[in-house]
């Protein structure tokens, strides 16, 4: 190459890198890997909505800089998740990451995240495997309950209404979801004084659960617990209903709160118990210090409906609160520095639209965990009635009559 051309090229390259550097310095970038397609899109889509809405509440500006959200579609696929997280961590070199949400997808993201360890907020995944691997990491912040939070709440609610000595049957899927939840059901229901009389494994996407239901009918349980994901939960609820399985108390996990599940199973939802971190229509006052970011729950729900023309679900609001807490921490730190922002995140303790937002250690070893309060509810006559905690209860547990 001609020497003058070489010099010109070098100058141009330097100018470009300087411009990029300046732009980067003026912008705070947050990686948002979510399941925007594939089987977990119903998790990733609210994750994206919640993050977007939180950024809008900050006018896309934190610590005096422009806030840029780098949305990436992990396609609900483990291999794609690894590539996406690698790109965000190693090439885009983000200091902050929110998502993904589904347990198997979050599990796939861990090794790639460990390559650079940006601050990672996970507003999903109830898997305790995540807790075992990443829980003790100083840059890991979990904002969704773990499996044991589900079952401590449900066992406590059932014990309160039914007393001890009941017979329990469990149906669990052969994936990480079912296998992760099963030991906690065994532990907490036994502690509540219940006798587990049947444990039946089902394969994910099984089309026929009738053999399992027939065997469970023979064991005559008082309570049947379904530890499966949404698709299988639809098949399970419909087949229990058409089979006229005579079990008075049917217990699910998070799926029983989903409109998706309720619409799909129709009248078969009657009597099912579930747990949630959010029940629409609850009353929660605005945060007086940050009324624009954390308005009253009613006002936030109204804003959400106006913005997305849809009803918010627990992941919409959970991801909103998670993202807003991160943006607030960056704002308070005043710099794009993961150590300082992590320190601010640990200090946060405020009322959000999703409940009290502060990070505490869990019994299972996660150092920074927020939002573990769970509400137990039962579907009665097409409506979700809160059973537990008793302070929030709007009704009493009712047996299912066939």
């Amino acid at each position: 190459m001609h020497p003058r051309l070489t010099v010109a090229a070098a100058v141009a390259a330097l100018a470009c890198s300087a411009t990029t550097g300046a732009a980067a310095q003026d912008t705070i970038r947050v990686g948002v890997p979510m399941e925007l397609s594939g089987k977990f899109v119903s998790y990733g889509a609210p994750g994206k909505r919640g993050t977007e809405m939180a950024a809008e509440a900050f006018n896309y500006k934190v610590a005096g800089k422009k806030l840029e959200l780098l949305f990436r579609d992990v396609q609900s696929d483990a291999q794609t998740t690894v590539s996406v997280i690698n790109e965000l961590v190693s090439q885009a070199k983000v200091n902050y990451m929110i998502g993904p949400i589904g347990s198997p997808i979050v599990a796939a993201a861990i090794p790639a995240w460990q390559q650079g360890k940006p601050i990672w907020l996970v507003p999903g995944s109830s898997s305790t495997k995540l807790e075992e691997v990443a829980g003790a990491e100083p840059m890991f912040f979990h904002t969704y309950p773990y499996a044991y939070h589900y079952h401590t709440s449900e066992a406590a609610a059932l014990k309160h209404y039914l007393g001890p000595g009941k017979r329990v049957a469990v149906i669990y899927s052969d994936d990480s979801y079912g296998r992760t939840h099963l030991p906690y059901v065994q532990k907490y229901y036994k502690e509540a004084g219940y006798n587990i009389v049947a444990e039946e494994l089902v394969r994910t996407n099984a089309s026929d659960l009738n053999p399992v239901l027939t065997k469970i009918r023979v064991s005559r349980p008082d309570i049947l617990i379904g530890l499966v994901q949404t698709t299988d939960a639809i098949t399970l609820a419909k087949q229990i209903h058409t089979r006229r399985l005579d079990v008075p108390y049917l217990v699910g996990t998070a799926y029983t709160q989903l409109d998706e599940w309720r619409n799909a199973v129709g009248e078969a939802q009657e009597g099912w118990l579930g747990v949630t971190t959010y029940l629409p229509g609850a009353q929660r006052a605005a945060n007086p210090d940050y009324p624009h970011i954390f308005p009253s729950l009613t006002e936030w729900e109204e804003k959400f409906r106006k913005r997305f023309n849809a009803e918010p679900d627990f992941l919409d609001i959970g991801t909103y609160a998670t993202a807003a807490m991160l943006f607030l921490a960056i704002d308070r730190a005043g710099v794009d520095d993961r150590e300082k922002v992590a320190a601010e995140l640990r200090k946060i303790d405020l009322q959000t639209v999703f409940g009290r937002g502060n990070f505490k250690p869990t019994e299972g070893g996660t150092k920074q965990q927020a939002f573990t309060d769970m509400v137990v509810f039962q579907n009665q006559g097409g409506k979700n009635v809160v059973l537990y905690p008793l302070a929030d209860a709007t009704g009493k547990l009712q047996p299912l009559k066939r």
């Binding site: 397609s37 594939g38 089987k39 977990f40 899109v41 119903s42 889509a45 609900s76 052969d174 444990e199 039946e200 494994l201 089902v202 394969r203 996407n205 099984a206 089309s207 026929d208 659960l209 009738n210 053999p211 399992v212 027939t214 065997k215 023979v218 949404t230 698709t231 299988d232 639809i234 098949t235 419909k238 087949q239 209903h241 058409t242 089979r243 006229r244 998706e260 599940w261 619409n263 799909a264 199973v265 129709g266 009248e267 078969a268």
Partner: protein
């Protein structure tokens, strides 16, 4: 033994549904020799069709079945004319790539149109059942079984007693000889492919009220469908029926009598597939193929 009567009923009902799941696949391969990897998406579209017709216009899935069958036939014929026809004489890998690619496109079209939310059609009768001597028979499954039996019987009648059906069988038996006697190969292939897709759509209508609907539901069924086809003998329609009932009985009995059996039962399709490929690659009723 107290579980045996219920086991028997469950297995028979499941066998009928499995038959409908694979009969279209067997037809298209038996006649056109194209393995349709997008057949699962025909099932998926059928399920969505029944779901939306019920949800938007309140049309019962059983009433929407003829309409969707016709729609499935036309769609299948068009897919054949525009895409499949071009790879008829190409290596199998090209056919697989084409149909697999079409399947992926259809999945994503469904995802864009209807999101990944799980859905299910809930006509009132789908939640009812009758009990006879402690054996529970859900109406949904019974109706699914009866629809499957009727459609399979109609297919056999078409193949046996109509000119087009006989032409299809002739093409399946000896392609060149069939051409020599003046059979319109392209039209016959197109019609057979259309019927195969229509049967997939009919299976979707049944699934719409028996289970969950999502854009990715077809692939899982396709894999099980191939296991059944290989068990019965690829391209052999009677073999497909035979394979469907064998798998249904094996799955159901394992589900009933093996501890944690339903977990194993779903894997039985693959165990059978492996055993058949090793011991009798042509399948139970299949013919040996040269080359």
């Amino acid at each position: 033994m107290e579980l045996a009567p219920q086991m028997l009923v469950d297995a028979i009902l499941l066998g009928g549904v499995y038959t409908l799941m694979v009969i279209g696949l067997a037809l298209s391969f038996g006649i056109t020799r194209v393995i349709n990897f997008a057949h699962g998406e025909a099932i998926m579209f059928g399920a969505y069709g029944a779901f939306w017709l019920l949800t938007v216009w309140g049309i019962d899935p059983l009433l929407s079945l003829p309409l969707l069958l016709a729609g499935g036939f036309v769609a299948g014929f068009l897919v054949y004319e525009t895409a499949v026809k071009r790879v008829l004489h190409a290596p199998h890998i090209n056919q697989i790539l084409l149909t697999f690619g079409l399947g992926l496109i259809f999945q994503n079209v469904a995802l864009i149109l209807w999101t990944g939310d799980e859905r299910s059609a809930n006509p009132n009768w789908a939640f009812d059942a009758f009990e006879f001597n402690m054996v529970v028979v859900p109406y949904g499954r019974l109706i699914g079984f009866l629809v499957a039996v009727m459609l399979v019987a109609a297919l056999f009648a078409w193949l046996r007693w109509t000119e087009l059906g006989r032409a299809s069988r002739a093409l399946a038996e000896h392609n060149e000889a069939a051409q020599l006697v003046g059979i319109n190969v392209s039209l016959t292939y197109g019609i057979a492919f259309g019927i195969s897709v229509a049967l997939g759509v009919a299976m979707g209508v049944l699934v719409s009220f028996l289970g969950a609907i999502n854009p990715f539901m077809g692939f899982h069924m396709l894999v099980k469908g191939f296991a059944i086809l290989i068990l019965g003998g690829l391209g052999n329609i009677m073999g497909a029926v035979f394979g469907a009932f064998i798998l249904a009985f094996v799955e159901t009995s394992v589900g009933y009598y093996v501890p944690n059996g339903i977990g194993w039962a779903e894997g039985m399709a693959f165990a059978i597939l492996f055993a058949i490929l090793v011991l009798r690659p042509r399948g139970l009723l299949g013919q040996e193929v040269e080359g």
